[in-house]
Symmetry: C2
Subunit: 338 residues, 2 copies
Amino acid sequence: MPELRQNRFTKEWVIMATERAKRPEELRAQREARPSLPHYSDTCPFCPGNERLAPPAVMAIPAHDNWRVRVVPNKFPALAREGQLTRKIERSRRSMNGIGIHDVIVETPDHALTTALLPVEQVAEILRCYRQRFTEVSADPRIAHVTIFKNHGVAAGTSLEHPHAQLIGTPVISSQVRYRVYEALRHYDEFGECIFCEALKEDLEEPARVVLASELFVAVEPFASGTPFATYIYPRRHMASFGDINPAEIIDLAAVLKSVLAKLYVGLRNPDFNYAIRTAPHENAGVLYYHWYVSVIPRLTRIAGFELGSGMFINTVLPEAAAEFLRDINPQDGGPVA
Amino acid sequence: MPELRQNRFTKEWVIMATERAKRPEELRAQREARPSLPHYSDTCPFCPGNERLAPPAVMAIPAHDNWRVRVVPNKFPALAREGQLTRKIERSRRSMNGIGIHDVIVETPDHALTTALLPVEQVAEILRCYRQRFTEVSADPRIAHVTIFKNHGVAAGTSLEHPHAQLIGTPVISSQVRYRVYEALRHYDEFGECIFCEALKEDLEEPARVVLASELFVAVEPFASGTPFATYIYPRRHMASFGDINPAEIIDLAAVLKSVLAKLYVGLRNPDFNYAIRTAPHENAGVLYYHWYVSVIPRLTRIAGFELGSGMFINTVLPEAAAEFLRDINPQDGGPVA
C-alpha cells in the first residue's frame, strides 16, 4: 500500500509509491558510465593558468597564483552587479531591475576532482570561502538573500565540467523561503521550539533515516523526502543563518559533506546532483525559530506533469531504505576516494 | 539589464536573465530530431487489439471495440484505488495510507499521433473524457483534489510513447494548491475581483504576451513566466473548477489547445512538454475568487541548484519574445499538421 507523508517544514504532501518502488540498485543500474576527465583543460576558464578566460577574481585562498579556491564573477550573470534598485509598479505588474551578485566558486585547481574525491581539508577550504562570500554579499544593503548551490553533471544543470559552485545574492526574498520561515515561526509560537531542532532530536532517537551523525552535524533522509536519496545535513547547534557557522563546525561539516557525497559517488556511481545551503535570510539571522541546513539532491528522476500541476512529488524510494543503503556504503571499499 | 518579475498568483519572483537571453531559435537548434513512430506497435498496451495488456477499461468513447478515447487504471499506480483513508500521527510525523485514483487516458488509437497532429474533433473527445472522469473522481468522498496532466517525451517524464494523459485524484490538497487558492482569496477580499479575470483583462488590453485569443479562451505567456514558452490557456468565463466547462467551451478549448501545441510542435520542433489542468479543489468549486486554466510547459531547460535551493526560477526567454514568436507561427505553413 502506498503512503502519503507530510513534509513538516512546508506542509506539502509526498506520495511514497511503494507499488512502483525501486531498489536503490535499480536507480544505479540505469546510469551510464561517465567518461573520466583530464586534470587540466587548456580551454577551461577555471583551470590554473587560464585565469584570463574568466573575469578578474573577487577573492582567492591563498590570494596568489597558487590558489586552492578562487571566486570570480559569473561571466554570464543572472543579475547585474552594479546599479541601484528600482521597483516598478504598472497596473498589476510588479518588477524590479535585476541587480544582484552572481559569483562562481572554483573549488579546486584540478579539473577532474569532484567533491567526493577531494581531501577533507580542501572541502573545508571551500566552505570557508562560502562563508566569507556569504558574509560579504549579505552585507551589501541591496541584497536580501544569498543562495549558495552546486550543480554537478548535465542532469543537474551544469554546462562546465571544472568543479565549481555558485552564489546568487538576490534583492528579494523568494516567497518559497518566506513561506518556510513563516511555517517555522508558527511552530515556534505554538511549541516554543525550533521545528528543525525538534525533527533532529526525533531522528536521532529513532534513527531509521539517519545516514551519519558526527560530533557537530547529522545527515538524514527526510521523512517526507520528495525525491530518491535527497539528504539534509543539519548542524546540531541551533543557528538560523549559515553565516554563523564557526571554524570547528566548518571542519566537521567538510568531513560530513564529503562523506555523504562519497557514499552517493560510490553507491550510485557518480550521480548528477545539486546541493544548496538553505539558510534564513540576512534579516532573520539570529532568530530562534529557523535553522540552516545543506540540502543534497541527486538527480536520478525527472519532474513530470503531476509534480508541475499539483506541487506534490511521487517518490519511489523510501527514505528509510535510502538511509540504510547509504549507511552501509563505505567509500573506502568501493571506489577511488582520496 | 536583467529584470525581476513577480508572479501575481504565487507572489514568487522570477529572474528574467536578459544577459543570458536566448532567441527562440536557439532553443530549437539544440534539439535533436526525434524518430517518427509507427502507427501501431504490437507490444504497446494502448494500441487497439492489445487491450488485454492493460487493466480493464474504466470508460471508453464510444463504449465498444472501436473506441476513440479510452481510460484504464494505471498498471503501476502511485496510489491504491481500494481502501479507506486512515490518518496516522506519530510524534511529529503525519502520514496517511495512499488511497487515490490513478487513471491513464489513451488519447487516440494511433500510436504515432501527438495532440498537435490530431483533428480538433478528436481533441474535443479527449477533453470530454477528461471532464467526465474529473466529475466522477471528484464525486468520490475519499478524493479531495484531481489533477489531469500529460507528459510528452522523455524529458517530460514519460516512459510510454502512445499518446496518453493521466489523472490522479488525491485524498489531500497539496499545500501548493492551498497557497494559490488562499492568495486568490486575499486578492478577492481586497479588490472584489478574481485575480485571474483581472490579469486576463489586462493582458487583452496590452496584448504583448497574448499568443492567441478565441471566442471563449485566451492563450498567454505569463508576465513572470518561470521557464521559456510556458503558456497558460484561460477560459474567458469565470469558473473556479474545470468540472464546470460547458460543451461549447470544450470545442473551443480543443481548437486553442491544439493550436498552441501545434505552434510549439512546428516552432520548436516537437519539444517534450507537460500540460496540467490547474483547477480549484472540489470543495472550492463555484467560488468567485479562483479560476481554472491549462498550464503548458515545454521542457526546454533544466531545473538546477538555484531553483531547488531558492524556489526562484531564471528564465532566459522573455515572455513577450516567446509570444511574438508563437503568434507568427502558422502550423499549416511549417509542418505536417492535420
